[in-house]
C-alpha cells in the first residue's frame, strides 16, 4: 500500500502537466518574492555606500562597507531618542484608537438605534478627508489645549485620525461575529461590560490586530503633524529623524537610507511578533469584509 502511494506520488510529480504547473508556481513565487524584497535589499545595500558611489551607479555594490552611515544616523540625528518617542506615541495612540474603535464598532454592529448607519457613514467618510487640510484647526486646538510640543498631542491626534479606518475594519469583524455566543454568555449571566470585555474583544482579536496594524503603521510613518505640533529635540519622532539628512537643496542620501533601515526595524519586529494574527486578519477580512 505504502509502495503504491509512493509510486503514485512520483508518477504525479513526473507528469508534464504537474511539472509545468510547478515551474509556473515557483516562477510566480520567485517573481513576487524578488519584486517585494528587491527594494528592501537595495535600500540596505545603498545605506552601506558613499554618496559618490550612489550617484555613480545606484545599483552597484559598495567598494568599502560604510557602517559610518549608521553611526551618522544615530549620532547626528539622535535617532535613539526619536525611536523611543515613536514607539511610545504609536503604542499609546494605537491602544486608544483600537479601544475606541472596538466600542464604537460594537455599538454600531449590535444595537438598533436611529441614525446608526449615518454615524457609521460619518466615521467612514473621515477616510476621505485629506489630513493636510486640517492643519490649521488641529494646530489651533492643541495650541488652546496647551499641548503644543508635547508627545500627547500626537498620541491624541493619531488615535483620532485613525478612527475611520479602524471602525471600518473592526465593524466588519463584529458583524460576522455570531450573536449566539453573546446570547449564550447572556444566558449564563454575563453583563454588558462582561460580554464586551470577555467575549467580544477576545473573539474579534483578529480584526482588532488587523486594525491595530494599520493604525500602528499610520502612527509610525506620520510626518506632517509630527513636524507641525512638536518643536524641541525631546519630542521629535523617527520620521523627522529620517529627514534630518535632507535640506532645501541637497540630501545626504546614504545616511538617510541608513536612518530608514533603522526606522523600519521596529515595524519588522512588530510584524514578526504578530504575523499570525495579521495574516489571518487580512485574509479573513478579505472574505468577510
Amino acid at each position: 500500500m505504502v509502495k503504491t502511494a509512493k509510486k503514485n506520488k512520483i508518477h504525479e510529480q513526473l507528469t508534464p502537466k504537474t511539472v509545468v504547473i510547478k515551474i509556473a508556481k515557483w516562477f510566480l513565487i520567485l517573481f513576487f518574492g524578488i519584486y517585494t524584497l528587491f527594494p528592501l535589499v537595495w535600500l540596505f545595500v545603498t545605506s552601506l555606500k558613499t554618496n559618490a558611489e550612489y550617484f555613480d551607479n545606484p545599483f552597484s555594490l559598495p567598494a568599502v562597507i560604510q557602517f559610518q552611515n549608521y553611526v551618522n544616523a544615530f549620532s547626528q540625528a539622535n535617532l535613539g531618542r526619536m525611536i523611543i518617542n515613536s514607539i511610545t506615541v504609536s503604542v499609546i495612540a494605537t491602544f486608544i484608537n483600537i479601544m475606541a474603535a472596538a466600542m464604537a464598532s460594537y455599538a454600531i454592529s449590535r444595537f438598533q438605534f436611529k441614525g446608526k448607519e449615518a454615524i457609521f457613514a460619518m466615521f467612514s467618510a473621515g477616510v476621505m478627508v485629506p489630513l493636510n487640510a486640517l492643519m490649521v484647526p488641529y494646530f489651533t486646538i492643541f495650541s488652546r489645549a496647551g499641548l503644543l510640543d508635547s508627545l500627547n498631542s500626537l498620541r491624541i491626534l493619531y488615535a483620532a485620525i485613525g478612527l475611520p479606518m479602524s471602525v471600518f475594519i473592526v465593524r466588519g469583524f463584529m458583524d460576522s461575529f455570531p450573536r449566539e455566543i453573546e446570547e449564550a454568555a447572556y444566558v449564563d449571566g454575563c453583563g454588558f461590560y462582561g460580554r464586551f470585555l470577555r467575549i467580544v474583544l477576545p473573539l474579534t482579536k483578529t480584526g482588532l490586530v488587523t486594525a491595530a496594524t494599520f493604525q500602528f503603521l499610520t502612527c509610525w510613518n506620520e510626518f506632517v503633524y509630527a513636524n507641525l505640533l512638536t518643536s524641541s529635540p525631546a519630542t521629535k519622532t523617527i520620521q523627522i529623524g529620517i529627514r534630518y539628512f535632507t535640506n532645501q537643496f541637497t540630501t545626504d542620501y546614504v545616511s538617510m537610507y541608513a536612518a530608514i533601515v533603522i526606522a523600519i526595524i521596529p515595524s519588522i519586529i512588530g510584524y514578526m511578533l504578530f504575523q499570525e494574527q495579521i495574516i489571518s486578519g487580512l485574509t479573513s477580512g478579505a472574505v468577510k469584509g
Binding site: 550617484f55 547626528q76 539622535n78 495650541s143 444566558v187 462582561g194 510626518f223 529627514r243 539628512f245
Partner: protein, 483 residues
C-alpha cells in the same frame, strides 16, 4: 427568555433590572464568592484605567531630553519652552531675559549649518542673560513651508524665520502678522546690503523680509568633456549651444541634465535662462501672455533632445548623478552646489569646471545672470518692545560682513550682504561673483518670480510639453491656468 432583545437598548434596561433584582433576591453564599470575584475584576479594571490616565498625564508634562546630547551645540532648544509663553520671556537673576524662537532650515547636513550654528551660539553668548535665540531644527523644506503657513494662519508667527519666495512674503505681509523691518535695514544696517537688494525686497515701499541668502546661478561646463567633443570655446548664444550639444551627443555623453520630478529645479533654472534670452530684463513684468514664454518653452523642449533618457521623472539625485559622474557635460544650479561637486563629484571634476553667464537668442540679451533672493529673514510681529530690540540685535549680528564672509566661504552660498569679494577663498565662487557683477542684467529664477501656484504647476506642464501632450503654447497655457 427572548434573546433577540439582547441588543435592543430600550428593552435591555428592564431586563437587566429584573435580572439584578432576581440576583439580589437569590443572593446566597455560593454567589457571594462570584460577586467578590467580579468586584475584584472591576477594581482591577478601574485601577488600570486610573494608571493609564495618570501615566498619560505624566507624559503631559513636557518630555525632557534624555541627556544633554539631545540638544545640539548651535543654540537648539535645551528644554522646552511652555507652548503658550506669550512673549518668550523668562525671569533671570539679572532681570528679564528675552527669548526668540527660530524655526531654522540651516541645520543638519545643510552646508551653512555649522557656521550659522556658531553664529547663533555667538549671539547667545554675547547677549547672555539678555537675549536668547532658541532654534527649532527644520530639515524638510516642504514641511517647513507648511508649518510656517499654518503658524501665520493661526496667529502664532515665529519670532524669526526665513521665506524663500516673494509670493509667500507678500502673502504673510498681507496677513499683518510679520514685522515691518524697513527702519532697521534703512537705518544703521543700510550700508551692509548689496545695491538694490533692499529696494527689490520691498512690498509697497515696506521691507517685510530682510534679503539674506542669494541664489546665484551660473552655467557649469565640464571642460574635459567639452575638449573631448572638440569644443574649444564656451557658447555665447543658444544657437551655438545647440551646435555644441550635437557635438557632445556625438561624443557619447549627455549634453545637458534635465528633470521633471519634484519642482523640476534644474530644468526650471534652464527655463529661467531661456526667458532671460528671449524676453530680457523685464520678462516677468510682461506677464505670461508675452511671446517670450512660448519661445523659451521651445528652447527648453529642444534641450530634452540633448539629455538623458531618464529625464522625465528624474529628480535632483538623477541630475546630479549624471553631472557629478561625468556622464553629462553641462549643468546649471546655484553656487551652493560647488561644495558637493568638490566632495562627491568624480575625481578632478571640480578642477575641470568652466563657468559662464546666460546665453543670447538672435544676438540679444546675452550675458545675463539668474540671481534671486533665496532666503529673506522675516520677523514675527511683536507687541513687546524688548522682543523688537532682541530681533534687531539678532539681525545686526547675522548681517555682520565678516561673519557672512565666513558663512559664504564655508558653504559656497552667496549673500545679499556686501563683503570683501577678494577674501572669497574659492576661485570658482570668486569667478561667479565677478561674472554676476559684470552681467548686463539679472533676473530672478522663474519660481521666485511667479505666484506659488504657477511654480507648482511648472513640473507637470513641463512633463506634458516633453511627452508631446502639449506644444509650447499649451505649456504656457497650463501655467496661465494655474494663476
Amino acid at each position: 427568555m427572548n434573546c433577540s432583545m439582547l441588543y435592543d437598548f430600550p428593552k435591555i434596561l428592564p431586563i437587566k433590572l429584573k435580572h439584578l433584582i432576581k440576583r439580589k433576591i437569590k443572593k446566597k453564599e455560593s454567589e457571594k464568592g462570584r460577586y467578590c470575584f467580579m468586584k475584584k475584576r472591576f477594581l482591577a479594571l478601574a485601577l488600570t484605567v486610573v494608571l493609564g490616565i495618570t501615566s498619560l498625564t505624566g507624559c503631559g508634562a513636557k518630555e525632557e531630553p534624555a541627556d544633554s546630547s539631545a540638544k545640539s551645540d548651535v543654540g537648539t532648544e535645551e528644554k522646552e519652552t511652555p507652548a503658550d509663553t506669550p512673549a518668550g520671556t523668562e525671569q533671570t537673576g539679572s532681570g528679564e531675559m528675552v527669548t526668540l524662537n527660530f524655526p531654522n532650515i540651516w541645520v543638519g547636513t545643510d552646508s551653512k549649518a555649522e557656521v550659522f550654528g556658531k553664529m547663533i551660539t555667538g549671539f547667545n553668548e554675547q547677549y547672555k542673560g539678555q537675549y536668547e535665540v532658541k532654534v527649532e531644527e527644520q530639515t524638510d523644506y516642504d514641511a517647513y513651508r507648511d508649518k510656517i503657513r499654518t503658524l501665520i494662519s493661526t496667529g502664532d508667527a515665529p519670532d524669526i524665520f526665513t521665506v524663500d519666495s516673494m509670493a509667500d512674503l507678500t502673502l504673510f505681509a498681507e496677513s499683518g502678522k510679520i514685522m515691518d523691518t524697513t527702519s532697521y535695514v534703512e537705518g544703521n544696517l543700510a550700508d551692509r546690503f548689496v545695491e538694490s537688494a533692499i529696494d527689490n525686497a520691498k512690498i509697497d515701499g515696506v521691507c517685510y523680509g530682510v534679503p539674506y541668502e542669494m541664489a546665484v546661478v551660473p552655467f557649469m561646463y565640464n571642460q574635459k568633456l567639452l575638449d573631448a567633443a572638440g569644443i574649444t570655446e564656451l557658447p555665447a548664444s543658444f544657437e551655438d549651444f545647440f551646435d555644441d550639444c550635437e557635438k557632445l551627443k556625438a561624443s557619447g555623453v549627455f549634453p545637458t541634465t534635465q528633470m521633471t520630478n519634484d519642482n523640476a529645479w534644474t530644468s526650471m533654472l534652464w527655463y529661467s535662462y531661456a526667458l532671460a534670452a528671449c524676453g530680457g530684463v523685464d520678462v516677468y513684468e510682461k506677464g505670461l501672455d508675452d511671446e517670450a514664454f512660448v519661445k523659451a518653452a521651445e528652447i527648453l523642449k529642444k534641450m530634452f533632445d540633448y539629455t538623458s533618457s531618464d529625464a522625465v521623472g528624474a529628480d535632483a539625485s538623477v541630475v546630479n548623478g549624471h553631472f557629478f559622474n561625468e556622464r553629462a557635460a553641462i549643468y546649471t544650479n546655484g553656487s551652493w552646489i560647488l561644495g558637493r561637486i568638490k566632495t562627491e563629484g568624480a575625481e578632478g571634476l571640480y578642477d575641470n569646471l568652466s563657468i559662464s553667464p546666460g546665453l543670447s537668442v538672435d544676438g540679444k540679451n546675452g550675458g545675463a545672470y539668474v540671481n534671486s533672493v533665496l532666503a529673506y529673514i522675516v520677523l514675527g510681529k511683536q507687541d513687546d518692545p524688548n522682543k523688537q530690540a532682541a530681533a534687531e540685535a539678532f539681525l545686526e549680528y547675522i548681517t555682520d560682513p565678516d561673519r557672512v564672509l565666513e558663512l559664504s566661504n564655508s558653504s559656497g552660498a552667496m549673500f545679499a550682504i556686501s563683503y570683501d569679494a577678494s577674501k572669497i577663498t574659492d576661485p570658482l565662487m570668486s569667478e561667479i561673483m565677478d561674472q554676476s557683477k559684470a552681467a548686463p542684467f539679472m533676473i530672478p529664477y522663474f519660481n521666485a518670480a511667479m505666484p506659488t501656484a504657477v511654480a507648482n504647476a511648472f513640473p507637470s506642464a513641463l512633463e506634458s510639453l516633453v511627452l508631446g501632450d502639449v506644444d509650447a503654447q499649451g505649456f504656457v497655457d497650463m501655467l496661465k491656468s494655474a494663476q
